[in-house]
Amino acid sequence: MINDKESQKIVDIIQNFARKHSLWVLAYGTGCGAIEIPPTMTSRYDAERLGVRGAATPRQADVLLITGYLTTKTLKRVIRVYEQMQDPKYVIGFGSCTINGGMYFDSYNTIKALDRYLPVDVYINGCMPRPEAVLKGFAKLQELIQAGKADGSKKYKENLEWYRANQKEVIPVWRMPEFNW
């Protein structure tokens, strides 16, 4: 019955509604932005009321937060982590460092634009973004999920060659398997 288009739409709406209220964030911090996560999670801002919770391992998580600057060394780990996550998965770029390098614009080992290496669904600007901004970012992500527009992982699979070429540009010695999933 759910093979026809009209029924699929209804199923999608229910599915997206369920997904947007259960965002499990991988407990993994890069750079300084991870310090804003504890106040977001604890009683004052209480992100759990939006369904945002921490997850211990990549395979259990839905959202990958890139909190701040990302060195090329960490990028390797982040790529492995992202590719191990199971669909549906979303990436949030957090802080100005992920957008254009921020204060590390002339650093020799931090990447300057995260969306060249991983598909980013939502960017949160600021240095640092306060917990209010973080919650706004999550609210925006929920909006996109409900509208079915948070399709970063689909984009990643379709344009894998482009992403891989960019990743290999900054990681000259590729010691990882070509596909991690």
Binding site: F105, Y108, N109, K112, V173
Partner: protein, 189 residues
Amino acid sequence: MEELKKNIVNKITGHFADAAVKAYDGNRVDFTVKKETIPAILFYLKDEMGYNHLSHISCVDWIEEKEFELIFILWSYTDHIKVFVHTRIDRENPVMDNIDMIWRQANTYEREIKEMYGIHFEGLEAPEEFLLEDWQDMPPMRRDFDTEAYARKTFWDRREARADAQDVRETITKRTGEELPDVAKKYTR
């Protein structure tokens, strides 16, 4: 304190002919010595004077003088005095004696200096990489390494910031019609 410091200066300059006092204030004494004397002076300070804590090994790039300066920072728990031992080595051929047999933690500092400045410590037990992975350029903390040019070459060109973020104060005053205070005017671009 003063007597302790005088005692240190007398003992060191008496033992090592090339040791010269460089600075002498607070609870700190600085010596400059030749490169060859470093293991001997550190052994002496540790075993005879009780300076048994190596706080750090620091490195300075004196590019104009074509030299690297290495600074060994020692601390005594009984005297509460810091002793800095400075030495200069050639920049073109930077070779230094390894001292990790005196203090085990020196190994970490030396590996870092080796990667960041390219100074070769003779007989240093170290794997290939420490902090930098797959680094193929010149050591990045040297002053002739242009980080911005390297970043432009390696990474995607930097996006410009949003137009209204260029100067927040002016944008706000334009929007609200307020006069910018003189204090703020001094700092606007």
